[in-house]
Amino acid sequence: MTSSALPVLTASDFASDQDVRWCPGCGDYAILAQMKKTLAQVGASQENTVFISGIGCSSRFPYYMNTYGMHSIHGRAPAVATGLKVARPDLNVWVITGDGDGLSIGGNHLIHAIRRNLDINIILFNNRIYGLTKGQYSPTSPLGKVTKSSPVGAIDNPLHPLSIAIGAEASFVARSIDVNIKHLGMVLKRASEHRGTSFVEVYQNCLVFNDGAFSHTTDRATKSDATLELEHGKPMIFGKNREKGIRLNGMDPEVVELGKGITEDDLLFHDEQAPEPTLAYLLSRMNYPEFPEPIGVYRAIDQPRYDALINEQVEEVTKAKGEGSLEKLFHSGETWTIQ
């Protein structure tokens, strides 16, 4: 391994020797496959990559990767990753979380990791249900969702994961879909390349407890009306024949038909680099069937990174004061000598 030739790794080099134990047909398999491909593509090394997860089905992810990893405790993965990245900014750190892990028990850590903008990637598998505990409603379950813990319908107003991330000053926000593998691969690659915290929501199907939660975005019949693929600098066009678009009416978006006096120039153009998060936030609030749900990169801006800043401070102070000497430290302040 110490040879100077660059080892060329393939997706399979990132697979650990452990049997994958998700339910057959789980959306997690597709995400795992794309992750391995992405790491090979971006030239990641096994030993410098670390996956940190919390608790939940998605959080078994690190066991299946032939990298360093920690399956930590419920909701705390972003905080574990923060300590890791601060201590070792040289590592590529990925956080794997879910809608319950990241937005309920771990909501506090998620928003603070995002606002600190450490150079880590947070992938939130959103299946809108608690799978590992066998089917309770989650913070992203829609109102009225009937589950074991909400037999007459959930009455908690659901969260929009991307709105939370944007509200927490995220520098990179994106969304993709488990089975849309090409798109997912592109989004993971973009996340990997972004310097700062990348927050990615992946629509993920739970076959057992919440099958079809995102079928509108994956079924052949509806997906072109239900999703809008964002591209930087391009107008927001969607529909089977790319016949529809998003236009701004006052402060609200609206769906318009192209033609009939409406041209592409009348549409909203995507700008993932907009300094203010207003547009990204507006997009994060668009829900089917009133709107198509945007997928792709909502926001990608350059912001100061906590892991870089904390280590710069160490360097600057060391430069100014000289490397720490215990002798000097002990004798700082008033001293006296007894013969």
Partner: protein, 630 residues
């Protein structure tokens, strides 16, 4: 007491003196006490301090709830406690007088700022009549001084507002006490320059009031003598004054340097532990990274992450924060990563008494996690001992690959004592080893163990050693997830044996006093000063009393069982309802008796002496227990 003359007034020599400043929490009493402490340390006295302040930053002015105090005991011999009672009390307002007068010895010196004794302030303190005028203070040497008036006059012409001028009154009180106890002004003048140098008017005002206080003592006819406490005969060396929290921070920096492992301190602000963070944040040039997390849980889990990364990982908190960290400490036990959890104990339960001391988190440290979750627990006995304990905690953590809990408490964390500065070559070296790279595809066993049952500390970035840790039960040797019943039993036993095995690696427990006898006093943590003083005093009277002060609480030192069997009776004084006593009883079947106090205050020596006397059937003259001398 001998009397000599210096300048105009006679000087009386004393072995020791205990002084307490008390006033409103905005009156600068902590600063006054700290400066008197540093000055006394610099002139060579042994010192012990007891800062005592309310949980509210600014309780309503003039109320009893807002009284803040700082007590200093300085002596010409070795002392271990801040004194049971006070020889000189400085009270800045009626509330301070009302809440502190009981601790002043009969005939003691009482300096009162008379300007605050107006009807409103008197009523707030519960006085119907002015105690300065009704003769109720006749049993003391009462000196009333209108500090407000004199201070305002002293700073006249500097352009300070009335409010700013009044803020200098603590310097007047300091100056007066400095004269009274023949202390030099230089250290405090240097402090003023360091602290206020950028605000020349404020610096000058403080200088003037300090000197005004000093000169007032010298020239006012009210004071007819000065007192002097000679330098103490301490072991040779260079000394500085140190608080427990400073010592903990310095011990951590030292351990980091001595193990060549950069320090990561992940924490969340909490009284009385925050000063460790403040101190460490200053030492970035030692490679120290301090992380102020969003909450206690994040602080602990960030430390787990940094430990995985290969850093010297430490968190600090107090009881309520440790409760929140419990699950993550369990993760640290399960992942068998080295780290330190410092608990600066305070009064509990729940929010409890945030600024007051207690020792009631021992059982939390031992058992406050789900499942069988053993880890080493050690406790510091004094402010300076925190320095050694921090290093020892890191040694145990890396040698045994385990989180270690270090217990200190509010009393030693905020209290200070002279610390003999160690030579660098006296400091223990701590060896940290990480396994090196192996060829990819070769098996790596993250849960293989050495002779101490410690697993290897393989860190990310090392080729070939990729492995996954986690909170799920681990298969022995491979570290893969395992639900096998027999494996779980094996792993629970292994984790327990690993920690229990540390006992073989500990220095034998020392005994102060006879090796066998009538009574053994067993203590731990910040009660050391009171217990050492009480047991020595009893021995000086010919009583057969020994003292054992435990640093290692889990596991106990290997020879503790034998020690306990060498005495007729065992007394365990604790600032809780009997937590160490419960552990000793269950471990050794010893019929230990408790002396238990939970008042947010340390033991007085008198209390301990009295209890020992009761147990030995010796009557102790009341007066002897009330004295401040040691």
């Amino acid at each position: 007491m001998s009397t000599t003359t210096k300048s105009a007034k006679p000087v009386c020599d004393l072995d020791s003196a205990t002084v307490r400043f008390c006033g409103d929490s905005g009156d600068g009493m902590q600063l006054a006490g700290t400066e008197l402490t540093n000055t006394s340390a610099i002139v060579g006295n042994d010192i012990a301090t007891l800062p005592d302040f309310p949980a509210e930053i600014r309780a309503p002015r003039g109320t009893k709830a807002g009284v803040s105090g700082f007590q200093l005991h300085f002596a010409s011999k070795e002392i271990y406690t801040p004194g049971d009672s006070v020889d000189a009390l400085v009270a800045m307002n009626p509330a301070a007088l009302a809440t502190n007068l009981d601790d002043l010895v009969p005939g003691g010196i009482l300096v009162v700022n008379s300007s605050e004794f107006q009807s409103k302030e008197l009523a707030q303190a519960g006085y119907d009549v002015n105690p300065l005028e009704d003769g109720s203070l006749d049993g003391y040497q009462l000196f009333t001084v209108d500090m407000t008036k004199i201070t305002r006059a002293a700073v006249d012409g500097l352009g300070l507002s009335v409010k700013e001028a009044d803020r200098c009154r603590n310097f007047f009180a300091m100056g007066l006490v400095y004269w009274l106890y023949d202390r030099p002004l230089d250290p405090t003048l240097r402090f003023i320059e360091r602290k206020f140098g950028k605000k020349p008017a404020v610096a000058e005002a403080n200088r003037r009031t300090l000197k005004a206080g000093y000169h007032f003592g010298e020239t006012s006819e009210a004071f007819d003598s000065q007192y002097r406490v000679a330098r103490a005969e301490l072991p040779p060396g260079t000394y500085r004054n140190i608080t427990g929290n400073e010592a903990t921070a310095m011990g951590l920096v030292t351990a980091s340097k001595q193990s060549a492992t950069p320090l990561f301190y992940g924490t969340y602000p909490i009284t009385p532990a925050s000063d460790i963070l403040h101190e460490l944040a200053k030492h970035k040039n030692f490679g120290v990274r301090t992380f102020q997390a969003e909450d206690e849980i994040a602080a602990m889990t960030s430390v787990v992450g940094a430990a995985f990364a290969g850093a010297m990982s430490v968190t600090g908190s107090s009881g309520p924060g440790i409760a929140l960290k419990g699950e993550a400490i369990g993760l640290a036990v399960m992942t068998e990563l080295p780290m330190i959890v410092v608990n600066v104990q305070r009064g509990g339960p729940s929010t409890g008494l945030p600024t007051k001391t207690e020792q009631a988190d021992l059982l939390q440290a031992m058992f406050g996690r789900n499942g069988e979750c053993p880890l080493p627990v050690i406790a510091a006995r004094s402010p300076a001992d925190c320095f050694d304990c921090a290093q020892e905690a890191w040694r145990l953590a890396v040698e045994y690959m385990t989180p270690v809990i270090l217990l200190t408490d509010g009393y030693i964390a905020n209290g200070s004592e002279p610390w003999r500065i160690p030579a660098i070559d006296e400091l223990p070296k701590i060896e940290v080893k990480h396994p090196g790279p192996i060829a990819n595809g070769k098996p790596f066993h993250p849960y293989a163990r050495n002779e101490r049952l410690a697993r290897p500390w393989a860190i990310p970035g090392t080729p070939g050693l990729m492995h996954r840790l986690g909170g799920l039960e681990k298969q022995d040797v491979t570290g893969n997830v395992s639900y096998d019943p027999a494996n779980h039993q094996r792993m629970v036993n292994l984790r327990q044996r690993k920690v229990a095995g540390i006992a073989q690696d500990l220095p034998p427990q020392a005994v102060d006093g006879p090796e066998s006898g009538r009574l053994l006093v067993v203590g731990w943590g910040g009660t050391f000063g009171a217990l050492a003083t009480a047991t020595r005093r009893m021995r000086a009277r010919g009583e057969s009393v020994a003292h054992v002060h435990l640093r290692y609480l889990n596991p106990f030192p290997a020879n503790l069982r034998d020690i306990l069997s060498n005495y007729d009776k065992v007394l365990v004084p604790e600032l809780n309802l009997g937590q160490l006593r419960m552990l000793l009883r269950s471990e050794f079947l010893v019929d230990a008796v408790g002396l238990n106090k939970v008042q947010g205050k340390p033991f007085s020596v008198g209390e301990v002496v009295e209890k020992i006397g009761d147990m030995l059937g010796t009557s102790i003259p009341r007066q002897a227990t009330a004295t401040t001398s040691t």
